[in-house]
């Protein structure tokens, strides 16, 4: 299946899905509330069968916070980028996909640690690299006034 056919198939799953054909991957944007349902479908549907989550990234877009999932199917050998974002910076929350792809368990903990994004239904959401009193360093508005010296 080529990229355009794949995009059309995923578009037929739900009307809220936005498809963009990037240079390298097909990019799918989905609202946070429908993320888990779509992820489950992408894994279980025989024609997509994305069983390998190879990269999970948290991104601070300035106004919004988002999570990017890079997926690949080991059987059909096609790839997809799944994106979701929220404008709630105070208490950002997405559904965890750790029960669909087990690798998400560690990766979501990392995203929580560095960006402060919470994941519902995550089995063990705790800080990973940093102590609990530390801020969330990958946010663009993070200021470390102890360790960073700025020129005046």
């Amino acid at each position: 299946m080529d990229k355009i056919q794949l995009g059309e198939l995923i578009k037929s799953f739900d009307k809220d899905i936005e498809i963009r054909n990037g240079k390298q991957f097909t990019e799918v944007t989905v609202p946070p509330l429908k993320l888990y349902h779509l992820a489950r479908l992408l894994k279980d549907n025989k024609e997509t069968s994305f069983d390998f989550l190879f990269c999970l990234t948290g991104v601070d877009y300035g106004q919004d916070l988002g999570v990017v999932y890079h997926l690949r199917s080991t059987k059909l050998n096609h790839s997809l980028v799944l994106k979701t974002r929220t404008s709630d910076r105070e208490n950002p929350r997405f559904d965890s996909v750790a029960d669909i792809w087990r690798t998400a368990e560690f990766n979501e903990r990392e995203v929580f640690d560095l960006l402060g994004v919470r994941f519902s239904n995550h089995p063990d959401l705790r800080r990973f690299f940093l102590s609990s009193s530390y801020g969330f360093p990958l946010r663009k508005d993070f200021v470390d006034d102890v360790n960073v010296v700025t020129k005046k």
């Binding site: 190879f54 990269c55 990234t57 980028v81 690798t103 560095l114 990973f128 690299f129 940093l130 990958l138």
Partner: protein
């Protein structure tokens, strides 16, 4: 007093010990909190972050050529391949065609990197299991590769030989001769490794059937590299998405089905032979030409997102760059193979003895600075 004694002999109670952060068999500052019942491992909880330097955050404030030098410090045993990943991503984004000479040299250097990394794996894995001689044999041969690296680019561990558009400088005139000498030498000494360790009865007993990882679990946990291939997961990036000169060389992807500690070891032994075959095919055919294309002094990537994957000795390293058109990236994510491979440790160690934990974590070949970044 009586109660305390009762507590100690209570068979159902789990007892928790700390392995690390300064433990010789964790090869760095990894802390494992191990819950035991007698000698049986009930739970392993990794605590990481002791060498967290915030490389992803640092990348947001420096330029692309500077990022390359930071990637050396992630997985220090595959420094050249980490550099290559960033360079390939930048070149892809700028749509630069790099000279054939560069592609071939990068591939040879990458395979030498793979050999020396697996040599060190073999050396330390043997040492973890009590065979100290392995350490001397492994380092003796690895030294020869390090000497080639030193002559080529000045560095032994952190090479920084790649730059966007090509290489920092041309090859040393001795390069071909010394690589051929090394291959000839290592073809002779590699059977010694098998004689010393692979056939050893104690070694076999301690690794066969220990820490079995099934194919489905490997895919679900995102395991790549030799660990994934030992479980039968065909995940060699060099095969399914060839980069540099891998599309013109013939080599086999080493696959096993058992997925136990012994087969994870065996994959690496076979990969060293495959790497030597790749070098054999390329070393006499290095094309003439430029060693780098001229780049603009300030590199700005067009707005967009770029993902590049390469095969390091430990699995798939992905570099995901989000650019907003400035000279420094908006966000860089390194998909590190070690971080993902660590996630499987708890699952495959449960139910085995504490001494097996050392064998299993050794066979995952974890490099801690790459986990923490």
């Amino acid at each position: 007093m009586e109660e305390a004694v009762k507590e100690i002999i209570d068979e159902n109670q789990e007892y928790v010990i700390n392995m690390g952060p300064q433990h010789p068999s964790t090869h760095g500052v990894l802390r494992l909190v191990v819950s035991l019942k007698g000698e049986i491992v009930k739970n392993v909880e990794p605590h990481i972050g002791y060498v967290h330097r915030g490389i992803e955050k640092m990348c947001e404030s420096i330029t692309y050529p500077q990022i390359i030098h930071l990637t050396d410090r992630m997985d220090y045993l595959s420094a050249h391949i980490n550099n290559e990943a960033v360079c390939l991503n930048v070149e892809k984004a700028l749509e630069i065609e790099i000279p054939e000479r560069v592609k071939v040299i990068r591939t040879i250097m990458a395979e030498l990197t793979r050999i020396q990394s697996h040599q060190l794996f073999w050396a330390t894995f043997g040492m973890d299991l009590g065979g100290l001689t392995c350490f001397f044999y492994g380092l003796r041969d690895r030294e020869k590769v390090m000497d080639i690296f030193e002559e080529t680019c000045g560095g032994r561990l952190l090479l920084s030989y790649n730059c966007p558009g090509g290489l920092m400088y041309d090859l040393h005139p001795n390069f071909q001769k010394r690589v051929k000498e090394f291959i000839k030498y290592f073809r002779k000494t590699l059977p010694e490794y098998d004689q010393l360790l692979t056939g050893n009865v104690i070694f076999r007993e301690r690794t066969t059937g220990i820490g079995r990882l099934s194919l489905n679990d490997a895919i679900s946990h995102g395991i790549t590299g030799p660990v994934g291939r030992a479980s039968g997961f065909s995940c060699d990036v060099r095969k399914y998405e060839p980069y540099s000169a891998y599309d013109r060389v013939k080599f086999n992807e080493v696959l096993f089905d058992d997925g136990d500690t012994f087969h994870r070891y065996l994959v690496r032994m076979e990969e060293m032979k495959e790497s030597m075959n790749i070098i054999d095919q390329l070393i006499d055919n290095i094309p003439e030409g430029q060693y780098a294309v001229k780049m603009k002094p300030v590199i700005r990537l067009p707005e967009g997102e770029y993902y590049q994957r390469v095969e390091t000795p430990r699995g798939e390293l992905g570099v995901y760059i989000i650019s907003d058109g400035n000279k420094n990236p908006y966000r860089v994510k390194f998909r590190s193979p070690n971080f993902v491979n660590l996630s499987v440790l708890n699952m495959i160690t449960k139910g085995f003895k504490i001494a097996d934990l050392v064998a299993i974590s050794g066979s995952l070949d974890l490099i801690i600075p790459d986990i923490d970044r």
